[in-house]
Amino acid sequence: MALLIPDSGPLFSLAAGGMLGVLDHFRLAITDVVKEEAVDPGARAGASPEARALSEFYAARATSIEVFATQVGHDLLALRKTHPGRPAPPNVGELSIQSLIIHLQVSGTEEMPVILFEDSWFLRNAEALARPCVVISTQAFLINAEKLGLIPSAEAARVAISTMRPTAYAGKFTATAAGKTTARRQKS
């Protein structure tokens, strides 16, 4: 089974739309740096509702979500030790995912991972990422989630994300007997 590896941008977007539950359908992995960007802030005082939702989502699935230590994460730790207070370089989450892809490639992983980036990544980077992997935008992920029957409507999901109103989403996630979530259309 292949890995779905989201960057922190899509995680926050899905949290903003109240749609983190859709990730329960996938074998999920994040890098150490993405965990630091997207999961850890939610445990701090004054965190946004989205950050808290991500923290709670991760805490409830800590045994199933794989967290990969990366060279970028290692270098970031070293930088903080030698130069405390120096800000992290830009886009370290993306860099850590590239680092992980390279690691997976070198270690001979046969399953091709799917990388989930925010839509703007594609506007900025086009074909920059090391392969082999499949890179997918949040927009395309939502289209496929609808095709796979995981959410009722990709467009409604996007509206919910962009308006920061989880209740605007026309679907909800309900727990099944197996403990997984399934998308169901709300009765109007």
Binding site: M1, A2, L3, L4, S8, G9, F12, S13, A16, D24, H25, F26, R27, E37, A38, P41, G42, R44, G46, A47, S48, P49, E50, A51, P90, N91, V92, G93, E111, M112, P113, V114, E118, D119, S120, W121, F122, L123, R124, V134, V135, I136, S137, Q139, A140, F141, I143, N144, K147, L148, G149, R158, I161, S162, T163, M164, A178, K180, T182, A183
Partner: protein, 141 residues
């Protein structure tokens, strides 16, 4: 035709009156600094309004970052870092409050990308998707 002429803006001729004393002053200026009366007048015309442009209000730096995020020039984590906000949830909230949309790929690009990645994404599934489930056949009696 010389190459430089190809990109030169079109020229126009004008006539105007000027005091003889001012004209002498201008000729003396050109003689001292080089150039021509034509260039001197042209540069004066070209400079008109530049002071106003320089005095134009600088956009709010925070708004500029949000605009850059909305247009896809910076990532969500990077915008959060530049805005010195505690986490990206606040950044999304600020974006929504300003009425700025999230960056969006053209629909045809997103659809093509979705089509190309559907199989790979399906390989990441741990649960069988609803759309993929076939109706169970009843056991033969």
């Amino acid at each position: 035709m010389p190459k430089a002429k190809l990109n030169a803006p079109p020229k126009a001729k004008i006539n105007f009156e000027v005091d003889e004393e001012s004209l002498s002053n201008a000729k003396a200026y050109v003689a001292k600094h080089g150039g021509s009366l034509n260039k001197l007048v042209s540069s004066l015309f070209a400079s008109l309004g530049q002071d106003e442009r320089l005095r134009a209000p600088v956009p709010d730096p925070a708004k500029k970052i949000l605009l850059d995020l909305s247009s896809g020039k910076v990532s969500l984590p990077e915008a959060t870092r530049l805005l010195t906000l505690p986490d990206a949830g606040y950044t999304l909230r600020r974006l929504a409050d300003e009425g700025l949309p999230l960056p969006r790929l053209p629909n045809d690009v997103a659809r093509r990308q979705a089509q190309a990645s559907l199989e790979a994404l399906s390989a990441c599934l741990v649960t069988r998707p609803v759309a993929d489930k076939k109706p169970r056949r009843k056991a033969a009696a």
